[in-house]
Amino acid sequence: MVLILNIILLVLFVVGAVWTMMTTRLLHSAVGLAFTSAVLTVLMFQLDSPLAAVFELSVCAGLVSAIFISTIMLTKRVTAEELIVQRKIRLASFWFLPIVVVAAAIVLSLIHIPVDFKLPEPPVENNVKNIMWNLRHLDLMGQIAILLTGVFGVVTLFKESKHD
């Protein structure tokens, strides 16, 4: 029973990704991205890693989609006839994406590579909070540095400098 649910979710995941790429309107593609992210969250719950799932939902589905939608708003609105032109171009270059995906799906499902390495023994520490906060301080420091870089990035790139 659980297996069928997983399969449906995976299919939804792949279809969501393909749809995000295929839609001509940029806004729809941003929404598609949010949808794919939501499906991924559910998948993560299936793979019993709830914390990461919640994080994914709130950050990716929420924040990133918000960023994309705001950038799309900032850029030029696309008029109706431009839309038709864009649709034609999109179809010209993207029409065979689904075919590629379906073909890859068939191929991957046929070749069945056995897992030929022996899996490691079970972990000694499996609590996410403990790992992140006690064992991997270097990663935390890295994340702080990246966030600071992000801050300075925003300051330099977005701030309207005086002269222009």
Binding site: I113, V115, D116, F117, K118, L119, P120, E121, P123, N134, L135, R136, H137, L138, D139, M141, G142, Q143, I144, A145, I146, L148, T149, G150, F152, G153, V155, T156, L157, S161, D164
Partner: protein, 475 residues
């Protein structure tokens, strides 16, 4: 007290951004100069209070940092190049607010680079490479010139592809090894080296690092990013960023983590040889000064990877020594290009000519730099290339040795044409107002030139005491 390398820049950034803005705004760059000079001092003179003093901060954090000779060399070159980049930045960036942001971003990339060099965990390697990458994206784009933005965007996209590849292989290695630290991954790779998944992971990781290092089939972003970045940033980028995030990681992984693996070495040698030849040939016809230097650094990095692929101890010593030399004379060349660009306002060599008469110091240091790049005897570049060629010869790779020698002739060719077009010849009328670049640029140029000549001349003496021990990290 290794953690100080990473924590001190944090402290500096926090201090810089304290509320009392006006005072710190002027002093910003001096923080950077002090930090990088301090780093160089600490690495060269190895004060034992620093090295084996009690790591009081270390008690609070389990950072698992570890430094051996290879990291020492990297820390040294990081310090030198950052020092030069900050000095050039101080001279070339006019707007004080931009200069302040430039300083913060350079400090952040210093954190990233120091971290990358000292860490022992595969995932933190990814994180710190990302720190360096994001700070260099912003550094390239912070003057908002269209070409710089284009270079930055290409760098972002390709760097993203690299991270995807690296994370993919991290996930597979996680499956195989259970933990992402170098030692456990090395153990897993050793005992299940014949499995397809593990070999796939190794291959993918190597390709990610190739993109970061800018070797030929993966080098698309490098010429655009180097040539269009602001002068000070291209010094930092060409001098040390790609070397730390790409080449150092390759050396560290291919020697200790993925273990001596013949097919991996073959891949490294092919990639190295191809990038040497294509880099040299592409640089030959260039008319833009910095773009030629970008292709030249692809070619020189090819030498390092070729030596790395050769695998013998001497070859590795040659590779690391060439990495250090290259970071010195390549940043020197970019410092000269910064000086020329500041004075003439353009980096198109056809519009320049006869600058040697007006800019004697830049002319002299550029002469030293390009002779060292081409591997002309008394200078450092010659010794490292010599070691590489000898190592190749000893282990029987005659064709590769021949390629290395032949393309250093082509290198001499295009650098000679660069020197002739920029510095020799008659001064065109438009450039009459050209004067020697300010002290801020000439001083780092002279320091770097002095290092190149010093290492070159003192090579026979320091060969056994400093250069050979570099190979000690190889088990």
């Amino acid at each position: 007290m290794l953690s100080l390398f990473v924590l001190l820049p944090f402290l500096a950034i926090v201090m810089l951004n304290l509320p009392l803005k006006t005072v710190t705004r002027q002093l910003a760059l001096w923080f950077g100069i002090a930090l990088s000079a301090g780093q160089v001092f600490v690495v060269i003179f190895q004060p034992d209070v620093f090295w084996n003093g009690t790591d009081l901060l270390g008690r609070f954090f389990t950072l698992r940092l570890q430094a051996d000779n290879l990291s020492m060399v990297m820390l040294l070159s990081i310090g030198i190049v950052t020092f030069a980049a900050i000095l050039v930045g101080r001279q070339t960036i006019a707007d004080s607010r931009l200069r302040f942001n430039f300083m913060n971003l350079v400090l952040l990339s210093l954190i990233g680079m120091n971290g990358t060099v000292l860490l022992t965990d595969l995932f933190s390697l990814y994180i710190f490479i990302e720190v360096v990458a994001i700070s260099s994206f912003i550094l390239i784009a912070f003057q908002r010139d269209l070409n710089a933005l284009e270079g930055a965007f290409k760098y972002i996209i390709l760097s993203a592809v690299a991270t995807v590849l690296m994370l993919l292989s991290v996930s597979v290695l996680l499956m195989a090894a259970g933990d992402t630290s170098f030692s456990s991954v090395a153990a897993a790779v050793k005992n299940s080296s014949s499995s397809h998944f593990v070999r796939f992971a190794i291959g993918i990781f190597i390709c990610g690092l190739f993109i970061k290092g800018g070797l030929v089939p993966f080098h698309g972003w490098l010429p655009a990013a180097y040539s269009m970045a602001p002068a000070a940033v291209s010094v930092l980028l060409a001098g040390i960023v790609t070397k730390v995030s790409g080449i150092y990681a390759l050396i560290r992984l291919s020697t200790s983590v993925f273990g001596p693996d013949s097919s991996l070495n073959a891949v490294l040698m092919i990639a190295g040889a191809v990038s040497i030849v294509i880099g040299a040939l592409a640089a030959t016809g260039q008319s833009d000064f910095k773009r030629m230097l970008a292709y030249s650094s692809i070619s020189q990095v090819g030498y390092i990877i070729l030596a790395l692929g050769c695998g013998t101890k001497l070859a590795l010593v040659g590779a690391v020594f060439h990495l250090f030399n290259h970071s010195i004379f390549k940043s020197l060349l970019f410092v000269n290009s910064a000086a020329v660009e500041q004075q003439t306002g353009t980096s198109d060599m056809d519009k320049m000519g006869g600058l040697g008469s007006r800019m004697p110091y830049t002319n002299a240091t550029s002469l030293i730099a390009f002779l060292s790049t081409a591997g002309v005897p008394p200078l450092a570049g010659f010794w490292s290339k010599l070691i590489i060629v000898i190592a190749l010869w000893q282990s029987g790779y005659y064709i590769y040795a021949f390629i290395a020698i032949l393309s250093s002739i082509i290198t001499l060719g295009y650098l000679l044409s660069m020197q002739r077009r920029v510095f020799f010849g008659i001064l065109s009328d438009k450039l009459q107002a050209v004067r020697e670049a300010g002290f801020g640029i000439v001083f780092p140029a002279c320091v770097l030139a002095a290092i190149t000549v010093g290492v070159g001349l003192s090579f026979p003496f320091i060969f056994n005491s400093f250069i050979i021990p570099i190979g000690a990290f190889l088990k």
